[in-house]
């Protein structure tokens, strides 16, 4: 009995919380198996190429993520070629909203690779568990060490240097566990200078400084229950955004939570996990370092969120279910104050986010029903309620006279998929339907300058819900030596929200050429296809390849912006004893379906070659890995389709890193 409870506790703190696997358990012996599966499934935040990656680099290795890049830091992740408004990005299910109107601080910029265990990406409505979405969900899972019978310390320290932008980083994490108490701590520093492009020219204003630390404490209140408190503090200072007319002076985030988890040995309900959270983000832009700016505008932003996540896992025979309640309240504030050259007197003031409150509550469930060992039906849905309130609605009424101060929306979502395994083949088909509410910027933004198309954007509080109809399918084959998988998805999105030129508007920001208002297109459609293959050429020589393509059109068959052209990634991985050598080639073909209407120009093809080698050895009980490599070995000068303002990407970069872990 005691052993059983320990097993349960290990399971419970195995952070994995992977419902489908957890639900496969039938009795206590299988629970133990499940624990080992969890340990294996726990992916490290590192790519094949590079062990000391940033969160952005790690996300980039996923085939349905692409990025809008405004510099070397804080890339905006696009899921299924859709921008962050359309996906739900959470940290352990907690909603955090960036405080920058120009999307210079996606949530992924407030965590660090050494306080995450894995990133859970779900495509389309399957990701509606944490909140209403169209594109899917990205859940950043934090590291948390399980309780252990004996006192145990573990930790890692990683340091490295990258030559191109003189980046120096130091990442450390330490954990302590015993049978009643667990503590996890991490700290990291990154400092980088300007990087150099493929023509060996300095890309000015591309430096960054980041400090991140996290702490998690768990205490076992009974054999089947535990409480846990977590906090992340992140601070970025003096971050350059070469593609924007301003930089970041300071951004800070504190992300905290307290959770209670109860396990049940009997009955349908297996796990009940409830978490209260609070996070606050502040973001201050700075344009005084740019001599070309004759005027200066202060654009501070604040975002504060309180929330609750409560989840229950149910299992009965072949049926398993995960039910989650999400509640949050967010207040987003952003100001604009403009000064003339002498800065003595301000010339204007306005709110770009006029104190917008968003309250959201949703009840979501994911179910799975096993018909046999070979076939399974997944189905689920969510029902959300979204409420917005604009404290200074007069700003919104300038362009939308008489618009109400408050707005409520009901956001339903449904999805189902069927999975079938026949011998070495896997198939799945699925469909989904879901609504999303406009984001704070889309609904209530006011003169938000977009330096990509150089328009000032105005939100529209009366926008309709965006409604997505989605279909997806996949087919795969695998044996010991090789695997092939093809995935397709298609989204038909009604009331697709996008900026359109407003003739009556007069621009305000210095570099702006006009005013765009967020409007709904009648519909838009997005199609994504990805092909993944792997082949073990020799026992220690592995090949992987990925090919992705996407096509997206608006209601007049015009192209949508930021859609990734045909792109590929291929890599070879060779291991011998303590040595490993990897090489990869990735690139995009020429962008054929670009959208001049939304400020895009054609991006030519590019190809990047990367090489790295690592050596593993032990110093006393300490596992040590030394890695040396080069990215963009051929020093290609390029920018991708989603590089804001066509800023060139980094040229050849030699990187080194050393990691000790115990």
């Amino acid at each position: 009995m005691k052993q059983l409870s320990i097993i349960f506790c290990i399971l419970f703190l195995g952070i994995k919380a992977n419902a489908q696997q957890a639900q496969e358990e039938k009795d206590s012996t299988q629970v133990l198996e499940e624990v080992t599966i969890v340990a294996k499934a726990k992916k490290k935040i590192e790519t094949d190429m590079k062990m000391a990656v940033s969160v952005d680099d790690y996300l980039a290795s996923s085939d349905n993520i692409s990025f809008i890049k405004r510099g070397a830091y804080a890339w905006e992740p696009l899921l299924n070629n859709m921008s962050t408004e359309r996906s739900s990005i959470t940290i352990d299910g907690m909603h955090v909203f960036g405080a920058c109107t120009d999307k210079m601080d996606p949530i992924t910029s407030y965590v660090e690779s050494n306080n995450l265990s894995t990133i859970d990406i779900k495509s389309g409505q399957e990701g509606s568990l944490h909140g209403a979405t169209v594109a899917g969900s990205i859940d950043l899972k934090r590291k948390s060490t399980p309780f252990s019978l004996e006192k145990k310390y573990s930790g890692a320290y990683q340091t490295g240097f990258e030559f191109n932008n003189q980046q120096l980083f130091n990442l450390g994490n330490l954990s302590y566990s015993n049978d009643k108490f667990v503590a996890d701590g991490s700290i990291s520093f990154r400092k980088a200078g300007n990087y150099y492009d493929g023509n060996n020219e300095e890309v000015k204003h591309s430096q960054y400084n980041k400090f991140n630390t996290s702490l998690g404490l768990a205490y076992k209140t009974s054999p089947l229950s535990a409480v846990r408190v977590d906090a992340i503090f992140d601070k970025a200072k003096n971050v350059g955004f070469p593609a924007l007319p301003m930089d970041l002076w300071l951004s800070r985030a504190i992300i905290t939570s307290a959770s209670y988890k109860q396990l049940f040995e009997e009955g349908f309900i297996r796990v009940w996990d409830t978490k209260l959270y609070f996070n606050a983000v502040e973001h201050y832009m700075d344009d005084t370092r740019r001599p070309e700016n004759l005027v200066h505008m202060d654009m501070p932003g604040w975002s504060t969120t309180y929330g609750l996540v409560s989840r229950v896992n149910i299992k009965h025979g072949d049926y398993a279910s995960e039910i989650q309640l999400n509640v949050y309240d967010n207040l987003s504030i952003a100001e604009m104050t403009m000064y003339p050259q002498d800065r003595s007197k301000k010339t204007m003031f306005a709110y770009s986010w006029p104190w917008v409150t968003t309250r959201f509550a949703s009840l979501a469930m994911n179910n799975s029903l096993d018909f046999s060992e070979k076939s399974r039906l997944n189905f689920g849905g969510s029902l959300g309620y979204n409420y917005n309130h604009s404290r200074y609605a007069e700003f919104n009424r300038i362009f939308h006279p008489g618009t109400p101060q408050e707005k409520s929306r009901i956001l339903p979502g449904l999805h189902a998929s069927y999975q079938l395994s026949v011998r070495q083949f896997d198939f799945s088909v699925g469909a989904g339907y879901g609504h999303r509410a406009p984001s704070v910027s889309e609904g209530y933004g006011y003169y938000i300058y977009n330096s990509f198309d150089r328009y000032d954007y105005i939100g529209n509080p009366d926008l309709k819900n965006e409604i997505s109809y989605e279909a997806n399918a996949s087919a795969g084959f695998k044996n010991e030596r090789m695997g092939v998988e093809a995935k397709v998805n298609y989204f038909h999105i009604q009331n697709y929200i996008i900026g359109r030129i407003l003739n009556l508007g007069s621009p305000m920001n210095y570099q702006s050429v006009g005013v765009k208002g967020y409007t709904s297109l009648n519909h838009a459609s997005i199609f994504n296809i990805a092909l993944n293959t792997r082949y073990d050429i020799l026992q220690h020589l592995h090949w992987k390849g990925t090919l992705t393509y996407a096509r997206a059109t608006d209601d007049k068959k015009g192209n949508l912006p930021f859609i990734r052209p045909l792109s590929y990634q291929t890599s070879l991985h060779f291991m011998h004893k303590r040595m490993g050598v990897q090489t990869s080639l990735n690139g995009d073909f020429a962008q054929r379906n670009y959208s001049p209407e939304y400020g895009e120009d054609q991006t030519p093809a590019y190809m990047i070659l990367n090489i790295s080698a690592n050596y593993t050895f032990s110093i006393k009980n300490c596992k040590t890995v030394l890695q040396v490599g080069a990215e963009n070995v051929l020093n290609e000068y390029y920018s991708t389709y989603a590089d804001w303002g066509n800023i060139p990407r980094m040229g050849r970069n030699i990187f080194t890193s050393l990691k000790f872990s115990f």
Binding site: Y176, P300, L502
Partner: protein
């Protein structure tokens, strides 16, 4: 180690105290623009058993448009007083006397229990220029007249600015802003008075003051086209949507809509047309966005700030 983590957590909270204060928008608007809503006595005259009280907003006469309320107390009830007239006169250093737009004949309002009127002072009182009010009325078949020196102060609220100019027809015109006193980032009802000086046909006669020498009227049926812009170079000639030109309503004043998109300096660029649609003053301003260049103003404009 636990201690270290504990101190780290404390350190985190310490650095988390707010960095930049949020702007107190409401307080900021209140300090830049004051709003007056209360009528108080601004001048009083006691003469021949009558006490005349002239009330204005905040009890002060300001340069620009002033709504006034005249109350006369004495042996006769106000209803029985007739031929009540009101005339402001300014005397400059050389001794020449002129007036400014005003309502000369005041009619008693039985509902409000006062004589409503207005005056648009064209300058502030100074050592060289003094303002004097001349008031006369008839009660018991006897005509009383009174005069009183007054002080006209600077209007610090630029939203109540005024301008005076000579139109293409050779006439002298006055445009004075009446409302909003305290604009918002919103659609504001813009109210202005447009007045004209009626040139006298004959030289002055009779006792001073001869009202025919100081005749001003509200112009009727004119139109005032509006193009509001932010003139600062940094604002690049920024404008706003959904503005409406000013047109005259029953009370003689001109009403339109001005939309301010943000706080700051704004210029109301006007084009004034007469009843026949002929431009009397004003030019079209460029609509281009010209960052770094001070906005071009119409030849007829009023600057405001909020």
């Amino acid at each position: 180690m636990e201690k270290a983590i504990f101190f780290l957590a404390i350190a985190c909270l310490a650095v988390m105290s707010c960095t930049k204060e949020k702007t107190d928008y409401q307080a900021e608007i209140d300090t830049v623009v004051g709003e007056h809503s209360e009528f108080k006595e601004a001048a009083s005259i006691s003469s021949a058993g009558y006490h005349i009280s002239i009330e204005a907003l905040n009890g002060i006469f300001y340069k620009g448009y002033n709504e006034i309320r005249l109350k006369i107390s004495g042996s006769q009830p106000n209803e029985n007083l007739s031929a009540v007239t009101f005339l402001p006169v300014i005397t400059n250093a050389e001794g020449s006397k002129t007036s400014c737009p005003h309502r000369y004949n005041l009619v008693y309002s039985t509902d409000d229990k006062y004589f409503p009127g207005y005056v648009v002072f064209t300058s502030e009182s100074s050592t060289n220029e003094t303002w004097e009010l001349h008031i006369s009325f008839t009660g018991n078949d006897q005509t009383y007249s009174a005069r009183q020196n007054i002080t006209v102060r600077e209007q610090t609220n630029k939203n109540l600015n005024m301008t005076t100019f000579v139109g293409k027809d050779g006439e002298q015109y006055f445009i004075a802003l009446v409302a909003p006193q305290k604009p918002k980032v919103a659609e504001n009802e813009l109210v202005a008075g447009i007045y004209k000086f009626n040139k006298p046909d004959a030289p002055p006669s009779g006792n001073f003051p001869d009202p025919s020498q100081f005749s001003y009227t509200e112009v009727n049926g004119y139109a005032l086209q509006l193009d509001p812009r932010m003139p600062e170079p940094s604002m690049g000639n920024h404008s706003s949507p959904n503005n409406k030109d000013l047109a005259q309503q029953d009370d003689g004043l001109y009403y339109g809509v001005v939309n301010y998109t943000m706080t700051g300096n704004w210029t109301l660029n006007f084009i004034m047309l007469n009843q026949n649609g002929k431009i009397l003053k004003g030019t079209e301003v460029p609509a281009d966005f010209t960052p770094g260049v001070e906005g071009v103003k119409s030849e007829l404009y009023i600057d405001i700030l909020f």
